[in-house]
Amino acid sequence: MSAKATSAGAAQSTPAAMPVDIRMASLRAIYIIWYRDLLRYWRDRWRLVASLAQPLLFLVVFGSGLSSALGRDSLFGASGGFTYIQFVYPGIIGMAILFTAIFGAMSIVWDREFGFLKEVLVAPIDRWAVAIGKALGGTTQAMIQGLILLVLAPFVGVKLNVLTVAELIPLAALLAFGLSSFGVALASTMKSLQGFQVVMNFLMMPMFFLSGALFPLTNLPGWMTVLTRLDPASYGIDPLRRVVLSDSGRSSALVERFALTINGHVLAIPLEAGIMLAFGALMLGIAVLMFQRRD
């Protein structure tokens, strides 16, 4: 490096030579930050099992219980074309993705609390690498969690073929990415573990309930319609449901009775995917800005 400076003969050439190095190092950092998250996720088998228990409980107990309570005249039942369990199944996949993504990304708060974040932040890398690495780590964990739940499809009377799964993967990835980025943005503002409980109760639970995971977002009171449309998770869970249900051989009109609407118009799946992607990019941008502030 000093040789380079001498040959260029000017002091200004040295800082200019550096960014390339730092950029490469930052790309490597994204990879290793992502890899570490997966390693920890994989190593913590109990967390993996525990985080599958909750969706299963919702699906089997909540789903079956509600199915029998909902009468023939409801949206569900024989006349509706789908049972409640069939309806709620993609919602539960969405739920698993929502919780895993936000939790996974928010592990930054733990890293800060236990000091490891310092090791990352003082490294000669750009800070955007930390935000991106963490967002991708959360995305991947959530994807794995969501895809594991696909094996339950036969038990709830949902038929899945290879094409459907191929269609589901990018949609699930978008939902996971959007919510992970949201988690990283949240975590970047939090200095301690105290805030975590608050986020859990006042953000994640409402996001889950308003996302259409458990009930169709149609014929709701006005205030709730507004809230559900403001919930970014709605735009990620709705396409999952439509893809899963349309594979069951029923008409698309039946499927669209459950679909997310704005002003009575059913949103096209690519539009929903676009909204999710934009949300994720916005959140990631905020997270990067937050991380770049030197504290």
Binding site: S2, M18, R36, E119, V122, I125
Partner: protein, 337 residues
């Protein structure tokens, strides 16, 4: 031209600070610090808690921006090019910064990646550092299962992995038991000897500062003395000799008349400060006719130096409690994890 300048500084000072000041609102934590650390030395930054040690080290490590002044580490301006400084320094923080759900080796691999250690050298360097800090046997255990001393050693190994020119350690032995502290020192000396690395460390343990090649004593944001431990101790004025005698009155009178030193009488013992005990004690034994039962000789300690320079003992009560709390907190965190 720049190349020549870089080479010149490489031969001399590795760390240079000029008039560093750090203000937090009204509070001036660091009030004009100048220092030069030479290549290959172990430089100790000694002072009570709150004296500005951590603030200064953070500025040198590019973690804090100074309010005024400038600093160069490895010939690079810490303000203008922090990333390049960071590539050339290793850091061991005061508080733990390991991922204890990963193994020791995995922690090192993570570090090798973010510090761009070439892929072909990664394993070799990790093995070398593990061996050097005697962690090879436990490399594949989760860090969760490590003792406090092992964690510290792993952090030192990690800080060395990207072959830095300077290793910064902020209170590296805080909260460790005396034996572990000793072994950390053995390792640091070994690293300096085998790798020729410069070590810059802060401590408030006086006994540890004695192991440093040079020490800067810092108090209330300023360096009050700088030199080798012996040079600093020479500031106190000499050695302390204490004798006991069965006829102390007679001995005292004789010492005063024959040796020209006025001893301070304290019960049966006589205490005197002399410039050089090596010369004084043989004369005392030879020339005194009064019986001398015991002779105790004490070199001045750095505690005496600090006391003389600041009028206070280094470990006042407040610092002591804070330390204990910190040690307790880290133990508690360790268990909770």
């Amino acid at each position: 031209m720049l190349g020549a300048w870089v080479n010149m500084t490489e031969a001399g000072a590795v760390i240079e600070a000029d008039g560093l000041v750090k203000r937090y609102g009204q509070l001036e934590a660091v009030r004009g610090i100048d220092l030069e650390v030479r290549r290959g030395e172990i430089f100790g930054f000694l002072g009570p808690n709150g004296a500005g040690k951590s603030t200064t080290i953070s500025i040198l490590c590019t973690l804090l921006t100074p309010s005024a002044g400038s600093a160069h580490v490895a010939g690079i301006d810490v303000m203008r090019d922090p990333a390049r400084v960071r590539q050339r320094i290793g850091l061991v923080f005061q508080d733990p910064s390991l991922d204890d759900q990963l193994t020791g080796r995995e922690n090192l691999e993570f570090h090798a990646f973010i510090y761009s250690v070439p892929a072909g050298e990664r394993d070799r360097r990790i093995d070398e550092m593990l061996a050097l800090l005697q962690l090879t046997d436990r490399a594949s255990s989760l860090v969760r299962t490590y003792s406090g001393g092992m964690k510290r050693r792993l952090e030192i190994a990690r800080g060395m992995l990207h072959q830095p020119q300077v290793l910064f350690l902020d209170e590296p032995t805080l909260g460790l038991d005396p034996q572990t502290r000793q072994s950390i020192w053995t390792h640091l000396n070994q690293l300096r000897d085998s790798k020729g690395i410069t070590i810059f460390m802060t401590t408030h343990y006086m006994d540890e500062a004695e192991f440093c090649d040079r020490i800067a004593i810092i108090d209330r944001g300023k360096i009050v003395a700088l030199g080798t431990p012996d040079e600093l101790k020479a500031m106190v004025g000499g050695d302390v000799v204490t004798i006991t005698s069965s006829r102390p009155g007679e001995a005292a009178a004789e010492i005063e008349s024959v040796l020209g030193v006025t001893p301070i009488r304290d019960d049966g013992s006589l205490r005197m400060e002399v410039p050089d005990a090596k010369v004084f004690v043989p004369r005392l034994v030879r020339e005194l006719s009064a019986p001398v039962d015991t002779v105790t000789l004490r070199r001045p300690s750095l505690d005496d130096v600090f006391l003389k320079l600041t009028g206070r003992a280094i470990r006042d009560e407040e610092a002591g409690t804070k330390d204990q709390m910190r040690a307790m907190a880290s133990r508690w965190m360790g268990r909770r994890r």
